[in-house]
């Protein structure tokens, strides 16, 4: 009896201390979130339950920023792409730009309305400024600039001619997102979430999933109309609701059809694509925005899932999303195809 009397209070105190230490410790190895900027967007890297999580998350931020700054950006002078555009010629020492150009062109081969030579369109239509409607002659000139023959790859030598200018705007965020996730994987991180603007990268172990919200294009950033559970993969969205301008009652978005040199006009307001390659998800979200429902077969061929939101709030989604996609807003209706 005496022994029990002594032990029990000590045990209770130890229990309390244990609970306290556990809760503090789990906060420490719990969610770590780091912030950065790349591809004109905010980058966030969240890492769960990893030893030295802060260092690893920071490394992922650093690598993604480096990739944009040194390779992909067409606005930063430090970038190979910027330098190539400026002089029309580049000797790509380690071949990484050549490699990336080839990766993107393999994708644009599947959709001729897309090109990496799209910068002349953005300039003519002043997409980064107030927007303008160019003349027919100006549009024809941009179409000539965007002729694929203007880009020549000869070993590590890259040449641009006839006013050709490269922009990875339709691919970059997905690529940078993937760079961050791959960096975390190489650091043995098993569970993470990366965002580059509206592009999301998900890393999970085994059958774990992360709940991701699908943006409601009719409301502000952060508002969602549906959710999906994602195990591992990338989600990219293309839409007409953030970058656009209006002239004479007509709305012009920033997604160009490379065969017409003009912004796409359609009933679609946003396309979200889920697939296991960051670059491919970014490419596909733009391609299907241009192609519409006809793009669903391309998505299927590339093992991707699609959510198309039309201007009338009707939604078309891939059949494989049925059961996973859950509407959280009654204004929308979904058909699975």
């Amino acid at each position: 009896m005496k022994a029990v009397k002594k032990v029990l209070p000590i045990f209770a105190v130890l229990l309390v201390i244990g609970i306290f230490v556990y809760s503090v410790a789990s906060e420490k190895s719990g969610d770590v979130k780091k912030y950065g900027f790349a591809c004109g967007s905010e980058v966030t890297v969240s890492v769960s339950g990893t030893f030295k999580g802060e260092e690893k998350a920071q490394k992922a931020i650093d690598e993604s920023q480096k990739l944009d700054k040194l390779l992909l950006s067409d606005t930063l002078p430090s970038s190979k792409t910027y330098q190539l555009n400026k002089t029309g010629h580049l000797l790509d020492d380690n071949g990484e730009l050549v490699s990336y150009i080839n990766e993107c062109m393999a994708l644009t081969e599947k959709c001729p309305q897309m090109t990496i030579l799209s910068k002349p369109f953005s300039i003519a239509w002043d997409i980064t400024g107030n927007g303008r409607v160019p003349s027919k002659d100006e549009i024809n000139e941009t179409l000539q600039n965007a002729n694929p023959n203007n880009l020549k790859l000869n070993g590590n030598e890259i040449t641009l001619s006839n006013g050709a200018l490269i922009s990875f705007g339709a691919f970059g965020k997905g690529t940078v997102c993937e760079k961050a996730i791959e960096t975390l994987k190489s650091e043995n991180v098993k569970c993470a979430l990366v965002t580059v603007g509206g592009t999301v990268g998900v890393l999970n172990s085994k059958n774990n999933t992360t709940l991701i919200g699908v943006r409601n294009p009719f409301l502000s950033a952060g508002e969602y109309f549906a959710t999906v559970e994602v195990n591992n993969g990338y989600l990219s969205t293309s839409g007409d609701y953030e970058k656009f301008f209006e002239k004479d009652g007509k709305k012009y978005c920033h997604i160009f059809d490379a065969t017409t040199g003009c912004p796409v006009e359609s009933n679609i307001t946003s396309v979200t694509v889920i697939t296991n390659s960051g670059t491919a998800s970014d490419f596909l979200s733009t391609a299907i925005f241009i192609l519409g429902e006809n793009g669903l077969s391309l998505a299927k061929e590339m093992n991707a899932q699609v959510i198309i939101v039309n201007k009338d709030k009707s939604v078309i989604a891939s059949k494989s999303l049925e059961g996973n996609l859950k509407l959280t807003n009654n204004d929308f209706t979904v058909i699975y195809k």
Binding site: A12, K34, T210, I212, A221, T227
Partner: protein, 120 residues
């Protein structure tokens, strides 16, 4: 027969266990009422939304208002003003960001039904 526990023992155990449970429940950063402001990717300020007080924060040309248990970007010198149009934050995990001025605001915490991220 002697009792297993005296009254004092029971009181001690009750107090100690209550303390333990209280410590477990009291996790300030997960109650959906703590917001953090980040500038240039680094933590700048932590704000409690608990008492619904009005608090104005000005940093990097961005004005952030906390009031009535919500926090939001009131004004910014950026050209797009996407941050100013964003919804007022009141739930765990919600965030708003001004990219050109490198300022972001977030309500800490996660709940079962809150998405880890929202696509864009």
């Amino acid at each position: 027969m002697k009792k297993l526990f005296t009254k004092i023992d029971l009181i001690i155990i009750a107090v100690v266990l209550t303390l333990g449970v209280a410590l477990l429940l009291f996790r300030p950063s997960n109650n959906g009422k703590t917001a953090k402001i980040y500038v240039d990717g680094k933590e700048y300020k932590t704000i409690s939304l608990e008492n619904n007080e009005y608090l104005e924060t000005k940093v990097n040309n961005v004005v952030i208002i906390a009031e009535k248990g919500e926090i939001y970007i009131k004004s910014s010198t950026c050209p797009d003003k996407i941050c100013v149009g964003a919804a007022h934050l009141s739930k765990k995990g919600q965030s708003a960001v001004c990219v050109p001025n490198r300022v972001s605001v977030e309500i800490l915490g996660k709940s079962e039904n809150t998405p880890g991220a929202v696509t864009g």
